[in-house]
């Protein structure tokens, strides 16, 4: 059964690594629903957040393949209910529509959205939330004609623990020190 999973990976910030990670999905003909890459709490370490709809066993396999990449520090996956996640959406509506009635303003209040910029031609509204929520606001606003709409990839944070990357790196150092390697 296909379900939605959030795959997270920490990696070195190296050129080409995004490609190395996405081809793991391409090779298995798995579609990426959303992808966010950004610097983590530690400088030089990137965090990938990838959303897929797949069978659990395939996701397990993919996560192992991601972690196998030399420049990847750690990869894991979660179900939606194990993480707190958000997406951000921006909407551009005609300012005239905002002026003609109070409906847009009411929608902005109801949806906990906010107005970022108003010019005489257009107004830009921002909303953070789950996809259904940003979609719902889009449909509401679109009755007045949305000029432009954009939604980001997902960002997610676990419920179980903090992002203790520095502790992880210390553990990794200890692990690497414990392995006696062949010297050939």
């Amino acid at each position: 059964m296909k379900e939605e999973f959030i795959i997270s990976a920490y990696s070195e910030n190296h050129i080409g690594l995004l490609n190395r990670i996405t081809i793991i999905f391409t090779r298995r003909k798995v579609n990426i629903e959303s992808l966010t890459v950004s610097e983590s709490a530690l400088r030089g370490i990137s965090k990938f957040t990838i959303v897929v709809r797949e069978e659990r066993s395939r996701v397990e396999n993919i996560v192992k393949q991601i972690e196998k990449q030399v420049d990847v520090l750690k990869a894991y996956f979660h179900m939606n209910d194990e993480m707190i996640f958000q997406e951000i959406a921006l909407y551009k509506v005609p300012t005239q529509a905002l002026m003609e009635s109070d409906q847009i303003e009411r929608m902005v209040r109801q949806h906990n959205a906010r107005i970022l910029e108003i010019t005489k031609d257009y107004t830009v509204i921002e909303k953070t939330g789950h996809k259904e929520e940003t979609q719902e606001l889009f449909e509401g606003l679109n009755r007045f004609g949305v000029l432009q709409f954009i939604r980001s990839g997902r960002v997610a944070i676990t419920r179980s623990s903090n992002e203790r990357l520095s502790e992880f790196l210390a553990e990794r150092d200890a692990l690497l020190a414990s392995i006696e390697m062949k010297s050939n």
Binding site: S11, E12, I15, G16, N19, R20, I23, R27, E60, N61, K64, Q65, E67, K68, V70, D71, V72, L73, L169, R172, D173, L175, L176, S178, I179, M181, K182, N184
Partner: protein, 579 residues
């Protein structure tokens, strides 16, 4: 002005001003490289120019095609356990390496491939002989990296060697722009010992090993499968000690062959589609299956839904992504096979499983009667591939390095060669690359100059890389090439006969006179068609001090049996086409 510190002075002494190109060669020497296989061209000319001054320290083998260079580097790596090194230029030179790199990736062969690239200001401009080699090679390399400044060269090469040979080995590609080769900098070299984002192997998994030992102690019918991981970790002796103490019959994968003496009393043969009868059927009768350094390739498992369902599976593996990938392990033991096996031997009880081992002998008798007898002592006049291979094995006292191409010749070589020492069987397993055999034999001979190297190739595969006869001739390499010539793409023809109603669609070959071709390269040879001629010529070939090509005209429409048909269970292995 204060005097420079002591540390600074020492650093200054170590660092020598040189070009990036020279730094490449010096870095390779720091890694102990003695042999490079390659082919020059525009974008790698500075490196070749630097190489010109190092002919005493390093031997460069000029192949006739970059594919030949990479396969030779693979053969060298497989026979020595060292990292194989090859050079190619940008564009077509680099893309010609890709087949070999993909082959090395799937067969875990340590390689460092260095490709020239257009100067960095030209990257992405469709410059002459520019191709995105980093992009192209990404899915088939363990790691790759583009170097655009000379300062990056020592670190990148040190990391490349460390990554290629550590953990589960694999190919690494370094793409080196022309300006990085020309640029000057202060060179100093430090070998790489760790990379924080990379765990080459996990420490000994004592808990899992204890669970595994308990399972093995309680087993009535344990069976061990050994793969190339045993060879890669140098665990041949540990494997033997373990099976001898626990009394466990063992079988090898295609790439695991030669890890255990073929005549060892617990060696029951080869696994897989054309493997031996006993190992295949007993996989589905054993109660504990111990897989060591192997990855349950589909050519080994057949239908996974009907594979060893009755058995508890213990998987000793260095690569975490192989655990549960194909076959779910009841006990997964992560780590290096040598260390894990050594510990496991200490933990298990001494046992013998006489009746169970005897069942393998009975299966071997059935196979002998129904298959092997016919292959080795045919009643018909036509020569079989099996008898040719066995004759070579006997004439070299089972001491030769056997290199095989792909197809029927490969299966005959694997089935009928006997091995008495490790790293003696070199063949393209996972990728099944036709044309691998001849160039791989070049690398094998250079890596093992004191051993007989016999390459078994088909008439099809030989013609894919036949130009490497030129390399053999130029380097005076005493490689023995045995062409198992049936004028067919034999394995495809066999499948057409068995599964496509004998519709021989484009598998028949009109071949050139291979002996004359060899002669053109200055390589002696002989064509044989009878058993008597074969006896004489094979002996002549082995005793001849230089290279030799023996063209053996074998039965045209012979088949390799036993056979697990594609998608069938290992239990349904066929001993003949009539079944």
């Amino acid at each position: 002005m204060t005097a420079p510190s002591k540390e600074f002075m020492e650093m200054k002494q170590e660092a020598i001003q040189m070009t990036g190109a020279e730094a490449v060669i010096r870095s390779l020497l720091e890694e102990g490289v003695e042999t490079i296989f390659g082919y020059p061209g525009g974008a790698i000319m500075p490196v070749y120019d630097a190489l010109y001054d190092f002919d005493k320290q390093v031997r460069h083998i000029l192949t006739r095609h970059e594919q030949g260079a990479v396969h030779a580097a693979q053969g060298y790596a497989r026979v020595t356990g060292k990292v194989g090194v090859c050079f190619a230029t940008s564009g077509p030179g680099a893309t010609n390496l890709i087949t070999g790199i993909a082959d090395a990736m799937i067969d875990s062969t340590p390689l460092v491939c260095i490709t020239g690239q257009v100067a960095s200001p030209l990257l992405g401009t469709d410059a002459f002989q520019e191709s995105d080699v980093v992009g192209i090679s990404m899915p088939v390399t363990k790691w790759n990296y583009q170097i655009t400044t000379p300062e990056e060269i020592p670190t990148a090469i040190a990391q490349a060697f460390y990554i290629a040979r550590s953990g589960r080995p694999g190919p690494v590609l370094l793409d080196l722009t022309k300006d990085a080769q020309f640029g000057k900098f202060d060179f100093s070299y430090t070998r790489c010992e760790k990379i924080r984002s990379y765990v080459p192997e996990y420490p000994l998994d004592k808990g899992s090993l204890k669970t595994a030992a308990d399972l093995i102690d309680g087993a009535k019918k344990p069976f061990l499968l050994f793969g190339q991981g045993v060879i890669l970790s140098g665990a041949e002796r540990e494997l033997q000690e373990f099976i001898e103490k626990a009394g466990i019959p063992a079988a090898g994968t295609l790439l695991g062959l030669s890890a255990l003496d073929s005549d060892h009393k617990l060696h029951t043969g080869m696994l897989g589609m054309h493997g031996n009868y006993g190992p295949n059927i007993k996989t589905n009768e054993c109660d504990v299956l111990i897989a060591v350094g192997m990855r349950f390739d589909d050519r080994v498992t057949g239908d996974v839904k009907r594979y060893a369902r009755q058995a508890k599976v213990i998987h000793l593996e260095i690569d975490p992504s192989e655990i549960d990938k194909i076959i779910k392990a009841d006990v997964a033991v992560l780590g290096d096979a040598k260390k894990s096996l050594r510990m496991l031997t200490r933990l298990v009880k001494k046992q013998e499983h006489k009746e169970w081992v005897n069942e393998f002998h009975q299966a071997a008798d059935i196979e002998m009667e129904q298959v092997i007898q016919r292959d080795l002592f045919p009643a018909k006049a036509g020569l079989t591939m099996g008898e040719v291979v066995r004759m070579s094995s006997e004439l070299t006292n089972n001491h030769s390095v056997v290199v095989a191409d792909v197809g029927q010749n490969q299966m005959a070589a694997a089935r009928y060669s006997k091995f008495s020492q490790t790293r003696s069987h070199i063949s393209s397993g996972g990728l099944g690359t036709m044309g691998f055999g001849l160039p791989a034999a070049i690398g094998a001979k250079i890596g093992a100059p004191d051993r007989d190297v016999v390459a078994f190739v088909g008439d099809g595969g030989l013609q894919m890389t036949i130009q490497e006869l030129g390399t053999i001739a130029q380097e005076h390499l005493p490689v023995k090439v045995v062409v198992l010539n049936n004028h067919f793409l034999g394995m495809v023809r066999q499948w057409q006969q068995l599964f496509f109603e004998r519709r021989y669609s484009f598998t028949e070959m009109v071949n050139p006179n291979f002996v004359k071709i060899a002669e053109g390269f200055g390589i002696p040879g002989k064509q044989v068609t009878t058993r008597e001629e074969l006896q004489v010529a094979m002996k002549e070939m082995i005793e001849h001090p230089g290279p030799y090509l023996l063209d053996v005209l074998v039965e045209k429409e012979d088949n390799i049996f036993p056979m697990v048909p594609s998608g069938a269970s290992v239990s349904d292995i066929l001993l003949s086409a009539e079944e």
